[in-house]
């Protein structure tokens, strides 16, 4: 898990872009694409994103590894939508309550493309983001309250300890004689017990960490300085502009192709 969470040290320009800009870009793209389910907007956005991928600062292998959830989810969503989606147009196949129509196939394609188009920017942009830098950016650029941003960051940092604790908890259960049961019920009970024990340990550790942070002067309303400056530079504006452009092109293409369907309507 630390492999997946650890940010990649990107050599290119993307490494110097403010994490807040990356966040903004992901938001813009996602919101624009989520407003409609149609293959044109998702497809155009996807094509443009793929063209921009070489600038992402990730190797092919890293890219493949991190986008893995998408490659599993998109096909299954496509199948599900094709079988159960809203039916329109000619019926192509029917059995029981399952109907595959032209309309549902259309929708399936749109959904699949959208999953990829929305998922890829999020994953790729955050692969090169260090959580501490993101927190600095959120607090200094966006002026979010420092207590919450840094408190959240401290909580996030405790994740690394979860993995070791989980392993120890599993070994301890074997040592205590309760790790034998086969079958889903026994496995669920075991998992739930371990998860709860991990929760207890984590909350206790969080309380101790809070005390340590308070002892270092954190949490009062006194003005605070920042050791690592987070500034908004021209390349951040450029990234945001690119995202807006991609979103605009995708939406315009869909509207022009008469395929845009606002979900709220």
């Amino acid at each position: 898990m630390s492999v997946v969470l650890a940010p990649v040290d990107a050599p290119g320009a993307i490494g110097r872009v403010s994490p807040v800009a990356k966040l903004g870009a992901a938001v813009v793209l996602s919101v624009a694409l989520l407003l409609s389910i149609d293959p044109v907007s998702a497809g155009v956005a996807l094509v443009l994103e793929v063209l921009l991928l070489p600038f992402a600062g990730l190797s092919v292998r890293q890219l493949a590894l991190r986008t893995l959830p998408l490659w599993i989810a998109a096909p299954s969503a496509v199948v599900a939508t094709a079988l159960y989606g809203r039916d329109e147009g000619a019926v192509l196949w029917q059995a029981w309550f399952v109907t595959v129509t032209e309309g549902s196939l259309d929708l399936a394609l749109a959904i699949g493309l959208r999953i990829l188009a929305v998922g890829i920017p999020g994953i790729v942009l955050f692969a090169t983001t260090d959580p501490t830098d993101l927190a600095d950016g959120l607090a200094q650029v966006l002026r979010l309250p420092a207590r919450f941003v840094l408190g959240g960051l401290a909580g996030l940092r405790l994740v690394g300890l979860f993995v070791d604790d989980w392993r120890q908890l599993a070994l301890a259960r074997r040592a205590r004689g309760v790790a034998d049961g086969r079958g889903p019920v026994a496995a669920t009970r075991r998992l739930a017990g371990q998860a709860f024990a991990l929760l207890v340990l984590s909350v206790r550790r969080g309380s101790k960490l809070a005390t340590a942070m308070e002892a270092k002067g954190f949490g009062s309303d006194a003005p605070r300085t920042w050791a690592r400056p987070a500034r908004w530079a021209w390349r951040d504006t450029v990234l945001l502009a690119i995202a807006v452009l991609v979103a605009a092109v995708a939406v315009t293409a869909a509207v022009l192709a008469d395929a845009w369907e606002l979900v709220l309507a």
Binding site: D130, P131, T132, L153, A154, R157, G160, L161, D165, Q168, L169, L171, A172, R173, R174, A175, R176, G177, V178, A179, D180, G193, A197, V200, L201, R204, R205, K208, L209, T211, A212, M213, E214, A215, K216, G217, F218, S220, A222, P223, R224, T225, W226, A227, R228, P229
Partner: protein
């Protein structure tokens, strides 16, 4: 250098032109505190004065309120919402809560004090909170890291630090605040001997260089005697029991301190009385053999942490595994206990132990392990499964399928033997450190395994729990159990071990190991 009104103007020099004196003065007058969630007061009627620059060692039985006092001095005890205060407690004549930057606090758990992911950022955290200007922060960070002897780059990940390094990091974070009062709450309890010395030396250097007032709470008196010039003993019911020069107080209060679990230097560690083995008796039967055992965390064909381990575990004898930090001692213990698969070589259980379950402990079913090999983990909290102590003790016997009366009988016997009867209905997580340790040992004994594996059993324990544990292990050895213990505690080795296995010769150097 810009003058920060909250800290001494220049590092290391006492007083500045009209600046704040480096050492803080502590005054407590009839002070008491009760946690909102408890009925009894944690501290009551405390009268104490600590002059600037004094170095105080605070002792007392657990429950005497030492940690509460330190937390209050640091201003982190929580406000009205969390409890009731009485009397007055001031640092430099002001409320501690108003003076957070003036007081530095280092706590017991190394990994619960690290705030940020990079070393430099973590040390700078305190300075940021106090509003120190940016161009002053990084020089302070570098100075603090140098003071504690942490020779690491600023972006070194904090997850890759040893316990001793993490404690020194916490100390550096406190020192970067340029505090007038430095509070240390059992800072070396969870460290190995090398780490203990590192932290103690770092504190000694700082105290000497800056004249900061120092208050240390610790069981290990001999470690801190060279550093402190005053000893204060708190009484369990409230108030101060003794207060004076170290040599005087340690002699005058020797019995009270020994009872409270303090390691009084003049009192030797008790050795367990072991039954003498008649000279002509047959050597004890072997139960487990390790043949060129290589251990690691990933199973076969994964990088090994230690290789070439040859050992025989015999009934009625204790084998203690020693070695420096990172030598792989815990991995060896877990492999011998049948919890991890050996990476190379063989771990063979003799028929006397296996009793039909097969020669390879890692292949035994979980239930089969219960009566053959019992494991006590380094952190007892990893082992707790049940909401009460009684149910916790019953987990093992119930997993074996024993009838209810037998389970109850065993549980009651263990509660009595390990003095846990008054805690039978308490939640295991709410026990004190020593009680948790006793409980984790008791749960293992409930199924009477023939081999007992203990991972750092005396870690972080005070002298009293240490004595009880050593005595208990002596009894178990006389009853015929075999013990495999991992420990860096030299006194424990001397008291218990029949055989010592030093892993230093078997460890695979870090450079040749890949990250797991």
């Amino acid at each position: 250098m810009p003058d920060d009104a909250r800290s001494p103007a220049a590092s290391g020099t006492a007083g500045g032109a009209g600046g704040v004196r480096p050492g803080a003065r502590v005054v407590a007058h009839g002070w008491g505190w009760r946690h909102a969630a408890r009925h009894a007061h944690a501290v009551r009627g405390l009268d104490l004065v600590v002059e600037p620059g004094e170095r105080v060692l605070l002792l007392g039985a657990s429950g005497a309120g030492k940690s509460t006092l330190l937390a209050a001095l640091a201003g982190v005890l929580g406000g009205d919402e969390e409890g009731d205060a009485e009397g007055t407690l001031t640092v430099d004549d002001r409320e501690p809560a108003d003076q957070r930057g003036r007081v530095g606090l280092v706590l017991q758990d190394p990994d619960s004090q690290v705030v940020l992911a990079r070393v430099g950022d973590d040390v700078a955290f305190g300075c940021e909170n106090l509003g120190v200007p940016r161009d002053e922060i990084w020089p302070r960070v570098d100075a603090a890291l140098a003071d504690v002897g942490l020779d690491l780059p600023r972006d070194h990940p904090t997850t890759q630090l040893s316990g001793g390094q993490q404690q020194r990091l916490a100390l550096a974070g406190a020192l970067a605040l340029r505090p007038g009062l430095l509070l240390l709450d059992e800072p070396t309890a969870n460290l190995d001997p090398a780490g203990v010395v590192e932290v103690r030396d770092a504190v000694a250097r700082t105290a000497a260089a800056t004249g900061t007032t120092l208050v240390v709470v610790e069981h290990r008196v001999s470690t801190w005697l060279p550093v402190v010039d005053r000893v204060v003993v708190l009484a369990a019911g409230g108030g101060v029991l003794a207060d004076g020069r170290p040599d005087e107080v340690l002699v005058a209060q020797r019995d009270v301190l020994v009872d409270a679990g303090v390691w009084v230097p003049s009192v030797p560690a008790a050795l367990p009385a072991r039954r003498e083995r008649p000279a002509d008796a047959a050597p004890p039967a072997p139960l487990l053999r390790a043949v060129q055992l290589a251990v690691g965390r990933g199973g076969r064909r994964r990088p090994a942490v230690a290789t070439g381990v040859d050992a025989v575990v015999r009934e009625g004898t204790a084998l203690v595994v020693t070695g420096p930090n990172g030598a792989g001692k815990s991995t060896v213990a877990l492999t011998v206990a049948g919890l991890l698969a050996p990476v190379g070589g063989d771990l063979v259980a003799d028929d006397a132990l296996a009793a039909g379950a097969g020669p390879s402990p890692v292949r035994w079913r979980s239930r089969q392990l219960l009566t053959r090999v019992g494991t006590v983990f380094q952190h007892p909290e990893h082992q707790f499964l049940a909401p009460t102590v009684r149910r916790e003790l019953a987990v093992g016997p119930e997993a074996l399928g024993l009838p209810a009366e037998e389970v109850a009988r065993r549980v009651d016997a263990l509660l009595a033997r390990l003095r846990l009867a008054h805690l039978a209905e308490a939640n295991p997580f709410t026990l004190s450190g020593g009680e948790k340790r006793r409980l984790s040992v008791a749960t293992v004994l409930a199924t009477s395994p023939r081999v007992l594996v203990l991972d750092e059993p005396t870690f972080g324990q005070d002298a009293r729990t240490w004595r009880e544990l050593v005595a208990l292990l002596g009894e178990l050895l006389d009853e015929g159990a075999a013990i495999v213990a991992v420990s860096h505690d030299a006194e424990f080795v001397a008291a218990v071990a029949d055989e010592v296995l030093d892993l230093a010769a078997h460890t695979v150097p870090l450079a040749e190991r890949h990250a797991p």
